[in-house]
C-alpha cells in the first residue's frame, strides 16, 4: 500500500495524489492529515487530484470527510484539478462533494484559501 505525502507550505498543507488510490491509502491519508493539522495548526488544505483517473463513491466520501475533519481544526479544504471526465462521472454517480470547496487548479485553490477571512 502506498502513502500519500503531505507538504506544508506556509499555513497550507498540500497533498498531491499521484498514485492509483486504494481504500486503505485514502483512509491513511485521512489519519495523516488530521495528525498534521493538529501538529501544525495549518489553516488550509489543498488536495490536488490532477493525476486521479477515477473518484468512486468511497474515495468521494473520504474527500468529503477530510473536508469535515479539517473544519474541526479550523482549516478549510479545497480540492483542485479534477478532470472533466471525473466531474461528469461523479455527478452521474450521484455524488456531491458537500462540504469541500473545489478550484480549477492549485493556484486558484491557494487564492481561495488566502481570501478567507
Amino acid at each position: 500500500m502506498d502513502q500519500v505525502p503531505i507538504l506544508k507550505i506556509g499555513q497550507t498543507l498540500f497533498v498531491s495524489i499521484q498514485i492509483d488510490l486504494q481504500d486503505e491509502s485514502v483512509m491513511l491519508l485521512q489519519e495523516d492529515l488530521a495528525a498534521e493539522l493538529a501538529a501544525t495548526a495549518a489553516t488550509g488544505v489543498i488536495i490536488d487530484i490532477t493525476a486521479v483517473e477515477i473518484v468512486d463513491s468511497f474515495i468521494g466520501r473520504m474527500l468529503a470527510t477530510i473536508g469535515s475533519i479539517s473544519r474541526l481544526f479550523d482549516a478549510e479544504t479545497v480540492i483542485v484539478g479534477m478532470r472533466p471526465a471525473v466531474a461528469i462521472t461523479l455527478t452521474e454517480l450521484g455524488l456531491s462533494l458537500n462540504g469541500v470547496r473545489t478550484a480549477l487548479n492549485a493556484e486558484k485553490g491557494l487564492a481561495l484559501l488566502n481570501g478567507r477571512d
Binding site: 486504494q22 466520501r61 462521472t89
Partner: protein, 131 residues
C-alpha cells in the same frame, strides 16, 4: 476473456487498471472509460467487502450492429442479497457507505444485470458500448 481475483484492496486497483486498458483499446471515449472504470471500482469493492472476495471477468464483446463493448462480470460466493430491488435504490446501504455503489454504477453503464439469492452469492454483469 481475462479473469482476475478480487481478494484485497490491491486487487481492486488491478481490476480498475485492467478495465481501463480494455476500455481504452476498444474505442471507448475518455468519459465512457472513466464511467466504466468507476463502475468497476464500485462493483469490485462490493465483491470484496460484501461478497467476501470473488472474481472479475473482463471480456470484449460485439453487438449485432457491429459496435464494440467491454463486458464485466463480477461474481462472489458471499451471503447474497435478499432484496435486489431495495439494494438498487439510491441511498440504501447495508453498512456505513452512501448507498450509491450499486445504484450509481448502474447509471454509469449501458447494460446492468444483477443476480443474487441469499446464501447463493452475487453476480453482476455490466456492458459499456463504444459510441
Amino acid at each position: 476473456m481475462d479473469e482476475l481475483p478480487i481478494q484485497s484492496g490491491d486487487d481492486v486497483v488491478r481490476v480498475r487498471q485492467h478495465v481501463r486498458n480494455a476500455a481504452a483499446s476498444n474505442g471507448l471515449s475518455l468519459v465512457d472509460q472513466t464511467k466504466l472504470v468507476t463502475a468497476a471500482s464500485e462493483l469490485a469493492r462490493n465483491t470484496l467487502i460484501h461478497g467476501g472476495g470473488g472474481v472479475a471477468r473482463v471480456e470484449v464483446v460485439k453487438s449485432a450492429n457491429g459496435r464494440t463493448g467491454v463486458k464485466l462480470h463480477f461474481a462472489d460466493d458471499g451471503p447474497g442479497i435478499a432484496d435486489v430491488d431495495l439494494a438498487l435504490t439510491d441511498g440504501w446501504t447495508s453498512g456505513t457507505g452512501l448507498g450509491l455503489g450499486l445504484s450509481g454504477s448502474r447509471r454509469l453503464v449501458d447494460e446492468f444485470e444483477l443476480k443474487s439469492e441469499p446464501g447463493a452469492g452475487t453476480s453482476v454483469v455490466v456492458v459499456k458500448w463504444s459510441r
